[in-house]
Amino acid sequence: MRTRTWAPYALIAPTLLLMAVFLVYPIASVGWFSLRQHTVTQPWKNGFIGFENFRRMLFEDELFWQSLAFSAKWVAVEVGLQLVLGLVLALIVNETFVGRAMARALVFSPWAVSGVLTTGIWILLYNPSTGIFQQLAQWGIGDPGTSVLGDPATVFPATVVTELWRGVPFFAILLLADLQTIPNDLYEAASVDGAGRWRRFVSVTLPHLRDAIVLSTLLRAVWEFNNVDLIYTLTGGGPANQTTTLPLYVARKAVDSHDFGYGSALTMAGFVILLFFSILYLRVSKFGSRA
């Protein structure tokens, strides 16, 4: 149905309008704010200051560099583990067994839980007085009074595990969907050729999943980079800013100190990183190559 009518434009008009006002314009305005001193609580100081925010960010703000480094570590560890566990989980629930539908619904369910709620649940689990480690200590495993979130040595793994609980189902759902598109004949042909289980996985399953794995990993990396809810509520970026990511730093500038000028400069740094990821993503997904 090739037409030259106004109909498609009318149909996408609401979406275009919302995107223009709430996505495009705000991005442009971040650029403007980043060149200003703009603090909601001290409006008399507001004004244009050129690149002062960027100078401060790049040369004086150690927390900026620290938050970048932690962001990189967070994304690498979190996405890597989610991918491996998600793939294993998808392979398991792709098998035929009694109660499979129920098992799927249960293992996927944390996907629907918000970051804040995840924090609530795991704070109950981790709390040193009545949490799971206290319970285990009563049974003779580990020490009583362990506070995994308060101890600088364990706060990172504890946060990673918490986000895994919610994040693994994402990969599992996507990879399961892709697993189901593999024609059974391929496996049968491989079996006839004498391929064992591992061999079939390496030569049939993995190549088929390649695109899905690469693209979901890239997209997930962006989402984990942007993830704020969970860390904000679970550790608040602490102890001693140890778990502060760049977006969390931005959010704290916005929510807590209302320092919009400097926060916008930090945001611009985030945009540069995200731009790199989106170009990579569009290249890999070959967006430009389709007619």
Binding site: M19, V21, S114, G120, V250, L274
Partner: protein, 293 residues
């Protein structure tokens, strides 16, 4: 949901029922299937169970089997702390976003799937790029816009913000679903004298029911769970949503875990129920190749 963004793959028809090769006597199945599955189920379910136990047992108890159960914590959070009101706010925002996103996504998805028009690729590219925009980093400019538009501390404002962020992905999803409905059906109806609009409502829309359920549910879950926008744009307590209420509870109830757990259950039940209903669709829809970029 990334699947939306992968390039189209040849659509393989859903495989016929897998051959029932019963392998009762294959003991390796226990190690490579049942054992890891049980371990993962424990990892998933113990946190949920822990919350439920805290919510249902009287304060001061430490038993892992909450019996006899008490509803005192629910009474505390629902009536005392105001979770009843937060629940209502979240519900209004969730349902509002669901309706607006679904309608706009249906319109735009139909346009993408059924028309070729100038600027289509640019539009699609813009939709894809929104997936990289972090909500957290948009807090500052959006706050300024909301302030000048008088949308702070209003549920309508939150519905608009949630809609703006969810619509692009919903639209991409929906266009995939529309594409899966054979265009010939619609054309036949138009040959029979229907207008395009009538053909759409009579022929295509009924086929899109699962798509509407799936897209609507995602929008609901997303809006129900959104935290930062609600925290930043609705700072008055009578406009709190459940995640915001919970985040304050995390600080204030540091000693009252029963109340925190009860609040968590209140926030969890609706989304987990919605998800239980739609998760099957999700996998089926994605694997049927319903979604192409």
């Amino acid at each position: 949901m990334t699947q939306t963004l992968t390039r189209p793959k040849t659509v393989v028809p859903p495989p016929p029922a897998p051959p029932r090769r019963r392998k009762h006597r294959d003991p390796s199945r226990y190690f490579r299937l049942h054992l890891p599955l049980v371990l993962y189920l424990l990892f998933t379910l113990i946190p949920f169970y822990w919350m439920l136990v805290f919510a249902l047992r009287p304060a001061g108890e430490t038993s892992l089997v909450p019996w006899p159960i008490t509803f005192e914590h629910f009474d505390t959070v629902w009536n005392g702390v105001g979770f009843g009101l937060f629940f209502q706010n979240s519900l209004i925002i969730g349902v509002g976003t669901l309706v607006v996103v679904t309608v706009f996504a249906l319109m735009g998805g139909y346009a993408l799937a059924r028309f070729k028009f100038r600027g289509q690729r640019v539009f699609l590219l813009a939709l894809l790029c929104t997936q990289f925009i972090p909500g957290a980093m948009m807090l500052i400019p959006l706050f300024v816009i909301f302030k000048s538009a008088g949308l702070l501390n209003s549920l309508t404002g939150l519905i608009i913000a949630d809609t703006a962020f969810q619509l692009p992905l919903a639209l991409i999803l929906m266009s995939g679903f529309v594409r899966n409905v054979p265009v010939e059906l619609e054309e036949a109806a138009m040959v029979d004298g229907c207008t395009r609009l009538r053909a759409f409502f009579a022929v295509t829309l009924p086929q899109l029911k699962p798509a509407l359920v799936a897209v609507g549910s995602f929008a609901f879950i997303g809006a129900w769970n959104n935290f930062l926008f609600a925290l930043m744009f609705a700072s008055k307590q009578d406009k709190f949503t459940l995640p915001v209420g919970l985040s304050y509870a995390l600080g204030e109830f540091n000693t009252d875990f029963g109340a925190l757990a009860a609040g968590g259950v209140v926030a969890a039940v609706p989304v987990v129920l919605v998800f239980a209903v739609v998760q099957k669709f999700l996998v089926q829809g994605l694997s049927a190749g319903a979604v192409k970029g």
